[in-house]
């Protein structure tokens, strides 16, 4: 049994196990995550050496076949998932585990891996459903009324989204008679096909919480438990974004209309999210809104990338996804620690605490740097390539928007960081630092990772440059 199917099945198996024997859940889950990371690394190595890896499951062949394909993009996404997963598992394994966290998280992991690897629309749809349900479960884990309410809205929106996707897939089948990725190119030929594409895209936009369909997201991400919100914000939405990117890649020139729409929505999301983040009063809410803004930036990047067969701009989008995943996970973990240490997460209260800023706040600051996209973080490298490409194509208005978004993100993140630099009269001389916890290590590790990724940006880029299957 090959790495590919292993990397999909292992987490699902672990989900079953963890559900079966709760006492050992943490151990099993952590082990599974570690193994998953190893597999992902190995897969990446294979892709780097021998190009894309393909495997057909059962003896279904295209056009209906269930084939797993691991190309460069999928490899990057898998690695991203593995890294974030490691940190989150570390934090969760150390902290008091809520019943049900591990099965849900393992399911999420499996679904994500499946999503990144599957090369036909039907598998994608299935993986999507699993992902959605698991994510809702993660949201609801917190058990508070807000969380439950958020989970309900999330599920509703998710269902509508997946129904749209389903409708789209069915239409596309009726048009092209096939469900593998080749279908996308054919779809762009006919009106009905493009309607199908549009429906799929609409569904994905809902699930990716892309403006203006992000209404469910801030509540969900801000009311979930830290580890859960880290997963939701860093990985789950990326699943949908990955599909959008994949559609635009497969569609080539034909999906230009999708890209234009994405660019506009992305710009809107960037500004709207930033604006709400500027006005947010609670730390978690601020971070959630910043996710809206960042997703907007990524969508913008996908949108302006132009025909991927001509430009490599889409790689910038992939880089942005990667750095956002690391940074945002770090940020949510850090926020969790901050709220735990202070007992609240009101921004206005951050600088009046009888407590010296701790490692978590430091982690938050570093994550903020890479979210804003200052050098030498991966976010910066992503923006660099994006803007450089846009200059070549003369998309000066997009550049202006991106810079505006960057400035806004700096503004709202500095709101928090400046308060994390508390000291002087607000802090009692006797105040102490909060003690180190594993969560701090996880957050700090992820944040530094996001920071240093910029210096090693060559690796993901070479991975991305490997041709598709």
């Amino acid at each position: 049994m090959s790495d590919i199917s292993l990397i999909v099945l292992l987490p699902l198996l672990a989900a079953v196990l963890t559900a079966a024997l709760p006492p050992q859940a943490a151990a099993v889950g952590a082990l599974a995550t570690a193994l998953n990371a190893l597999l992902a690394a190995n897969l990446g190595r294979q892709i780097l050496q021998g190009g894309p890896v393909t495997e057909a499951i059962g003896d279904w062949a295209a056009p209906l076949g269930i084939a797993f394909v691991a190309d460069g993009l999928a490899g990057v996404m898998l690695a991203m998932t593995a890294i974030v997963g490691l940190a989150v598992s570390l934090q969760a394994a150390a902290g008091p585990a809520r019943a049900g966290f591990w099965p849900l998280w393992m399911a999420t992991l499996g679904a994500l891996n499946g999503l990144f690897l599957s090369s036909d629309l039907f598998n994608i749809y299935v993986a999507f459903e699993i992902l959605g349900l698991a994510a809702v479960g993660l949201t609801a884990l917190a058990g508070t009324r807000a969380a439950l309410r958020a989970a309900f809205d999330y599920l509703t929106a998710g269902l509508v989204g997946s129904l749209l996707v389903l409708l789209g897939i069915a239409l596309s089948y009726s048009v092209t008679g096939r469900v593998d990725m080749e279908a996308v190119v054919l779809l762009t030929q006919s009106d009905t096909g493009r309607i199908a594409l549009a429906l799929i895209a609409a569904g994905l936009v809902v699930k990716a919480a892309l403006f203006p369909l992000h209404f469910w997201m801030p509540a969900a991400h801000s009311s979930a438990a830290p580890a859960a919100s880290a997963l939701l914000s860093a990985l789950v939405v990326k699943g949908a974004l990955y599909l959008v990117l994949r559609l635009s890649l497969e569609g080539g020139a034909g999906t230009e209309f999708l890209r234009n729409t994405l660019a506009v929505l992305g710009a809107g999301g960037m500004l709207w999210g930033a604006w709400n983040a500027l006005r947010a009063e609670r730390l978690k809410l601020l971070v959630a809104h910043s996710t809206v803004a960042q997703i907007g930036l990524i969508a913008l990047a996908i949108g302006v990338a132009g025909n991927p067969f001509e430009t490599g701009l889409w790689q910038a989008a992939a880089l942005l996804m990667l750095s956002h995943a690391l940074a945002k996970a770090a940020m949510f973990l850090a926020v969790g620690r901050i709220a735990e240490a202070l007992g609240h997460d009101r921004i206005s209260g951050l600088n009046r605490e009888e407590l010296r800023p701790g490692p978590a706040e430091f982690a938050f600051a570093i994550a903020a740097i890479s979210l804003v996209g200052l050098p030498p973080t991966a976010g910066f490298i992503g923006k660099w390539f994006l803007i450089e490409g846009l200059i070549d194509e003369g998309g000066i208005h997009w550049i202006a928007l991106i810079l505006l978004g960057t400035a806004l993100s700096a503004a709202y993140l500095s709101r928090v960081v400046s308060r994390c630099l508390r000291g002087g009269p607000h802090v009692a001389a006797t105040a102490q630092r909060p003690p180190w916890r594993t969560g701090d290590v996880a957050a700090l590790g992820l944040a530094t990772g996001a920071l240093l990724l910029g210096l090693a940006a060559a690796l993901p880029i070479t991975l991305l440059e490997t041709p598709f299957a």
């Binding site: 600088n351 010296r356 800023p357 430091f362 740097i369 200052l374 050098p375 030498p376 490298i381 660099w384 390539f385 803007i387 450089e388 200059i391 070549d392 550049i399 810079l403 960057t406 400035a407 700096a410 503004a411 500095s414 400046s418 630099l421 508390r422 000291g423 002087g424 009269p425 607000h426 802090v427 001389a429 630092r433 910029g454 210096l455 090693a456 940006a457 060559a458 880029i461």
Partner: protein, 490 residues
């Protein structure tokens, strides 16, 4: 070896920073020892480096982080000038800061970011291409922010916000300009007399726009009017920070950036051919006068010094913008001279505040009797700023004036004259009060300052005197700048 030395110089502060950040505040002795050891080691390494460079050795350290992007550290004569300045003054300022923050809070944080700040300065000095420069430039912005807000008061936070807004805005402009230039010209390495090749003929408009963007970007840190608003506000920072901000790190990074852009990216001929030199010079002149005018009206001692920085730093820009080797000598020399003079002033001002609680000009009465040593250092610095020989400032002004004539701009003489008058007008009253006004009755004798606070200003004051008196000696700042200019202009 040729790559190890720059790395070592960088690491003596970049590697030090996290360690210090992680130390508990209580580990004072350990932290101080570590910090000072690193600073002294850096000075030694820089001395070694400058010796090597003077003998024609070349240093290179490259790390490719993405296709078309690489971090490149190098050491040419210009870098060495800035390196020597920052490393020596860092050592002094660190000693001073240790004494200044005695018993303060968050000292690990402070010294950690202090080292980070100098690390980025060193990186800027050794940056071999525009991308590397940009990286360290932004790092500098971030590393300085916690220092500005260190006191934690709401005023400090306000100043920090505004500082961040200005510098990040400038950073965006710089980033855009850099990317644009990379898109046009590919890798933009720093080479004497420019790297643009044929571009000025093919894409003059784009290059002009890029020049404006880049200068705006670095101009924020160089406090060019109208981008200077953050500087006086960030005076709320502790004295060593102000000293470092003004003398070495931020402001100088901006000025240094202007040099790099004019000399090593565009090249003087190009800049002049594209007609970009005159506006820059005009801006510098405006800044010189405006800063001095604002300084006249400040009663807060540090704010007066801040505005004087605004005006003084533009001497450097002026020296660069007047396309003339003589003026260039003046400007480059002023990079160092202004540094040592201004740091003297700030350290002395810090001592006034620490020892006697004196923060305003009108409270300076009788300072000559209350703290003779600090007042003497302050006097040397102030007279140097005015340009009184044989102090350092005189040398720079002399070459700037001659350079102005050389560039066919006699007005520069008038500018220097006016600026000197203004400098005198806002510095001499302080000296007058300090030396000749009686100690106000009811002035309680302040606390005795330790050697850590007393030695650094004395040292820098001596440097000011030496830099002027021994201007023609080998390895004086002037001599070194002559060497640099001989490379930039042929």
């Amino acid at each position: 070896m040729s790559s190890v030395l720059p790395l070592a110089i960088l690491m003596t502060s970049l590697g030090v920073a996290p360690v210090i950040l992680m130390m508990p505040d209580s580990a004072r002795r350990l932290r101080t020892g570590f910090n000072l050891a690193a600073a002294s080691l850096k000075v030694a390494l820089v001395a070694w480096l400058s010796y090597e460079v003077a003998h024609g050795a070349s240093f290179d350290l490259r790390h490719s982080i993405a296709p078309g992007l690489e971090l490149h550290l190098q050491a040419d004569a210009l870098s060495v000038l800035f390196l020597a300045l920052s490393s020596i003054l860092w050592l002094l300022t660190t000693i001073y800061a240790v004494g200044y923050l005695e018993g303060g809070t968050d000292r690990s944080r402070f010294f950690g970011f202090f080292s980070l700040c100098v690390a980025s300065t060193v990186g800027i000095a050794m940056a071999g291409n525009l991308f590397t420069f940009l990286v360290f430039f932004e790092l500098l912005t971030l590393a300085t922010w916690p220092l500005v807000v260190h006191r934690g008061t709401s005023e400090a936070h306000r100043a920090g916000r505004i500082y961040l807004a200005y510098t990040l805005g400038g950073g965006l402009a710089l980033t855009l300009g850099t990317i644009w230039l990379y898109a046009l010209a590919g890798e933009v390495a720093f080479e004497p007399r420019g790297v643009l090749g044929e571009l000025p003929q093919t894409a003059p408009l784009a290059l002009t726009a890029i020049f404006v963007l880049l200068i705006a970007g670095v101009g924020v840190k160089a406090a060019l009017v109208p981008l200077h608003g953050w500087l006086p506000l960030s005076m709320v920072a502790p004295a060593p920070v102000s000293a470092l901000l003004h003398a070495v790190a931020v402001v100088k990074a901006g000025a240094f950036g202007i040099m790099r852009i004019v000399y090593d990216v565009y090249g003087v001929e190009t800049v002049q051919a594209m007609g970009l030199a005159a506006p820059l010079a005009g801006l510098a002149a405006l800044t010189i006068l405006w800063g001095s005018f604002r300084a006249l009206t400040q009663d807060d001692l540090k704010k007066r010094l801040a505005y004087s920085t605004v005006s003084q730093v533009s001497y450097i820009t002026l020296g660069v913008a007047l396309i003339s080797p003589v003026a260039a000598i003046g400007g480059l020399a002023h990079l160092v001279h202004q540094g040592i003079m201004k740091i003297t002033l700030f350290l002395a001002a810090g001592n006034f505040a620490e020892g006697e609680g004196v923060k305003t000009v009108r409270a300076m009465d009788g300072m000559g009797q209350r703290m003779p040593g600090a007042m003497l250092a302050f006097t040397v610095g102030a007279l140097g700023m005015i340009g009184i020989p044989p102090l350092a400032g005189f040398v720079s002004k002399w070459y700037l004036g001659a350079g102005g004539l050389d560039a066919g701009q006699p007005m520069v003489i008038a500018l220097l004259a006016g600026s000197s008058l203004l400098n005198a007008a806002y510095f001499l009253p302080i000296l007058y009060r300090g030396w000749f006004c009686p100690v106000p009755e009811g002035a309680t004798p302040g606390r005795r300052l330790g050697w850590m606070l007393a030695i650094p200003p004395a040292t820098t004051a001596t440097l000011v005197l030496a830099a002027g008196l021994l201007a023609s000696a080998p390895f004086s700042p002037l001599g070194w700048t002559r060497f640099i200019v001989s490379l930039e202009y042929l």
